[in-house]
């Protein structure tokens, strides 16, 4: 067996390994030697071996076979072995390992050892990795040690008690009596203060506020103590800790808050903040002032300190001041507004952390009064913003614009600007939101479409911009071609230009499938708004009829059908859309180029209704595919229309509380077949409707077959459901049309 190499030699050998493989080899050899050594009886070098194992563990290699050795070493009488054993326990054992329970007894023995250093080892290990059971077992011991006269042990026992209370809050009561006595300990190491997390302890300790105040005063005004001094501040660690305790005690307690007001003012004014230690104390003071029920003068002082921090050269201090301001911006809004200029300047800082804080704070500071100037700054920031902050910035800007937009035109301009700068990082619902906004601002249609067109011809890579622009060009293409617009310099746009742009988008590899869908639909809509190039549109549409993308292909085929079979309907179908409401059903879908039902009460012509075509489906509704779904229903079948031999039955099936499936079954009792049977349906505004494909459009004669059509309704507001159904069919050569209003549905769902 190779003699074991001492620790530093081994480290040297490992470090000199030139490749990962070599290192692994060395480590494997060493581990084998260590394992062999562990199996031997006491060889005198046990602590060295364990130390080596711990080094190997730190490099990331498995070292679980050392756990039992740790347990053995802890039980050894030799100090060096105990020391390494406890270190090994802290590194290798945690409360999830079973071996950790085995050391409970050793710790217990060591806690009563005569040497304080061995006691401290045990205390330290318990505080580091003590599991709940171990803590429960050893809590009485710790409590005993808390009363010891040795201050070295007392402070360690106190921190150990803190750990125990964290693990098992109920044991807090056990330590309460000792807590108070620790406070009056002259020694600077009063560590038990932090355990004041449990409310019961708070009750016991809060009457100690005057004492704490005294301690703090002593620290702030005392003479120079070289031991505890850091950069001119006497014992900043303790000061911060006392302040933290004061914060917890004063949180909802008027009396306590009053008692500490003076002290806080004194600390806030007297602490020198040129170095980090002083700033740390001031920072903690500010946090304490903000958290307790302090008087308003004190709060103003705190905000001013934060403002001073903002102007500091040190980035760390600026960062934390912005973090704190973020916490109080809701409650002390006006106070923070005073520092708006500095915060906005921080947007231009080099540091990404500072930028992030500045962005959040700026967004919180936007108000109706400063929206224009803030938006300018935010938009400038957006152009130089780091990528990880972009989506946050864009959504913040949109929210702010929506809440405080001074005019529609400003709003549209802002959104356009954002899309041009950072269109790739906006959220998905931005596109429909913007489209809805544009459609509402009817007097700005001309201006908007011109602006969008100009943005489009310079850059087609931002998908959201492309989608919005295509939609607008499709809708308002006639305004674009007319050329004149009062709010923007005129630009002569020919039909060919517009179609060129749209075709480029269709063909570009940068365009996403959604954008291409938008472009195709836009081209189609233009067929009713332009006069000369209809053939060009026809050819584009027919080319895409064989496109690989299924969505495009479907659309192209449908549009083709519109050109061929339903040319008479084309103008009506492609007419300009009515203004959408913010929460209308069409709004919920992602593709607003499908406008869905409008209201039932107005006598809208066919264009307003959802149009459902059989055969090669031309359907505005999104996500439509030509699959007929026949559901199995349990609800009764009701006849809603009976005339001229045509019988229409209705069946309802409730799928959920707000969704319902309605199936119409049409049958024919005449002698001849009924052809071109179509059903159109309209529902109230709050209800969303989705029509599935009918099973066919020919109803065989004499009841030999039926045509079924399924409609899915979504009624989120549980409004009373009505439906108007228009039938249209050809029977014995004559075209018949009829309308049926269904006021009550045979199901109890809607109440």
């Amino acid at each position: 067996m190779a003699p074991s190499v001492c620790l530093q030699e081994m480290i040297r050998v490992i470090r000199s390994a030139r490749t990962q493989g070599e290192e692994r080899g060395v480590i494997q050899r060493e581990c084998a030697a260590i394992r062999a050594q562990f199996r031997q009886a006491d060889s005198g070098g046990r602590s060295h071996n364990l130390a080596k194992l711990l080094y190997v563990h730190m490099l990331g290699y498995p070292a679980h076979f050392g756990q039992m050795e740790c347990v053995r070493m802890i039980a050894s009488p030799r100090y060096s072995e105990k020391r390494i054993g406890y270190l090994g326990a802290m590194m290798l054992l945690d409360e999830k390992q079973d071996a950790s329970l085995l050391i409970t007894n050793s710790i217990k023995n060591d806690l009563s050892h005569s040497s304080q250093y061995i006691q401290s080892l045990a205390l330290c290990t318990l505080a580091c990795m003590g599991s709940a059971e171990m803590c429960r077992d050893l809590a009485p011991e710790i409590e005993r040690l808390l009363k010891a006269s040795n201050s070295y042990i007392k402070k360690k026992a106190a921190l150990c008690a803190v750990h125990i209370v964290r693990k098992i809050p109920e044991l807090g009561e056990l330590f309460t009596p000792s807590a108070h006595s620790l406070l009056s300990d002259k020694n600077h190491g009063q560590s038990f203060l932090l355990s004041v997390r449990s409310p019961t302890l708070c009750l016991h300790v809060f009457h100690a506020v005057p004492e704490l105040v005294q301690i703090m005063k002593g620290l702030v005004t005392s003479g120079y103590s070289p031991e505890h001094n850091v950069a001119g501040i006497s014992d900043p660690f303790l000061q911060v800790r006392v302040l933290r305790l004061l914060r917890i005690l004063g949180r909802n307690n008027d009396e306590a808050s009053d008692a500490m007001n003076d002290l806080l003012a004194q600390v806030a004014t007297n602490t020198d903040s040129s170095k980090t230690a002083g700033s740390a104390v001031l920072y903690e003071t500010v946090l304490t002032i903000m958290d307790i029920k302090s008087e308003s003068g004190l709060r103003v002082l705190a905000v001013n300190i934060l403002g001073r921090f903002l102007l500091n050269n040190d980035r760390n201090i600026r960062y934390i001041s912005m973090t704190s301001l973020q916490k109080i911006v809701q409650t002390d809004h006006t106070a923070v507004q005073r520092h708006r200029g500095t915060i906005v300047d921080c947007l231009k800082d080099q540091d990404a952390s500072v930028k992030r804080r500045a962005l959040e704070l700026s967004l919180a500071l936007v108000s109706a009064a400063n929206i224009r100037s803030m938006m300018k700054e935010l938009l400038r920031f957006l152009s130089t913003c780091p990528p990880e902050l972009r989506s946050h910035a864009t959504s913040g800007i949109f929210n702010a614009a929506e809440r405080y937009a001074p005019s529609q035109r400003w709003h549209i301009d802002t959104i356009l600007h954002v899309l041009i700068t950072a269109g790739g990082d906006v959220r998905d619902e931005t596109v429909p939101n913007l489209i809805q906004l544009i459609s509402v601002a009817s007097e700005l249609h001309c201006y908007t479409v011109h602006k969008l067109y100009r943005a489009l011809i310079s850059d087609i890579s931002q998908q959201s911009l492309v989608q919005v622009a295509c939609w607008c060009i499709g809708e308002y293409g006639d305004l674009l071609l007319k050329g004149d617009c009062d709010e923007i310099e005129p630009m002569q746009v020919t039909e060919d230009d517009v179609l060129d742009v749209l075709e480029t988008i269709l063909q570009s590899h940068m365009s996403s499938p959604t954008s291409r869908g938008f472009a195709l639909t836009a081209i189609m809509k233009l067929s009713t708004r332009i006069t000369n190039n209809i053939d060009r549109i026809r050819s584009v549409v027919s080319i895409y009829g064989s496109c690989i993308d299924v969505e495009l292909q479907q659309r192209a085929v449908e549009y083709n059908a519109l050109f061929k079979k339903y040319d008479h309907m084309r103008a009506a179908v492609l007419e300009r859309m009515p203004i959408m409401d913010k929460n209308s059903p069409g709004h919920a879908n992602g593709d607003p180029s499908g406008e869905i039902t409008k209201d039932l009460i107005q006598t809208t012509p066919i264009q307003g209704l959802l149009i459902q075509e059989p055969g090669e489906l031309f359907c505005y509704s999104v996500g439509f595919n030509s699959v007929t779904c026949l559901c199995v229903f349990s609800a009764p079948n009701v006849t809603v229309y009976e005339k001229g031999g045509v019988n229409l039955k209705l069946q309802c099936d409730n799928q959920t509380e707000t969704a319902i499936t309605v199936t119409f079954t049409a049958s024919n009792s005449t002698q001849s077949d009924i052809t071109s049977f179509t059903l159109q349906a309209a529902v109230p505004k709050s209800v969303q409707l989705q029509m599935k494909a009918p099973s066919g459009d020919v109803i065989p004669a004499q009841g030999r077959g039926t045509v079924t059509q399924t409609i899915l309704l979504n009624n989120p507001n549980k409004a009373s459901l009505k439906m108007r159904v228009r039938l249209s069919y050809t029977s014995q050569g004559t075209l018949c049309q009829d309308m049926v209003q269904i006021d009550s549905f045979p199901s109890p769902a809607w109440n």
Partner: protein
Amino acid sequence: MMRFLLLFSRQGKIRLQKWFLPLGEREKKKIIRDMTTMVLARKPRTCNFLHWKDLKIVYKRYASLYFCCGLEEEDNELLALEVLHRYVELLDKYFGNVCELDIIFNFEKAYFILDEFLMGGEVQETSKQSIAKSIEASDMLQETMEEYMSKPAF
């Protein structure tokens, strides 16, 4: 309360890891990976504070070592910077002009010093002299045992 304290080199090799909260091996490795990536990616004159999940991360670079600790929401970041600095001062006093190699070859001593300074994620002793004295005394205890061993000293 400090959740963890890590020391790692510029190449991302970990030199010391102290966990004040029980975590599984995989989580520890993940945290180490995340910390080293995040901290090593920072440019020289940027702020020393980061945000990671729900923790505040405070880091400081001393020569070739990064000292990185993870704090909870209520903790004072500026004070954490002071804590890191104090630890470096303690190491410096003990080893005399400490450098990374000292910490590599005497890692267990670095741990012992840390255990005298921090416990359970909190500062246990604010006086540099007391800590130095305790470490000295413990080392004395250790050396006397060495007499029983016939091994070369560390």
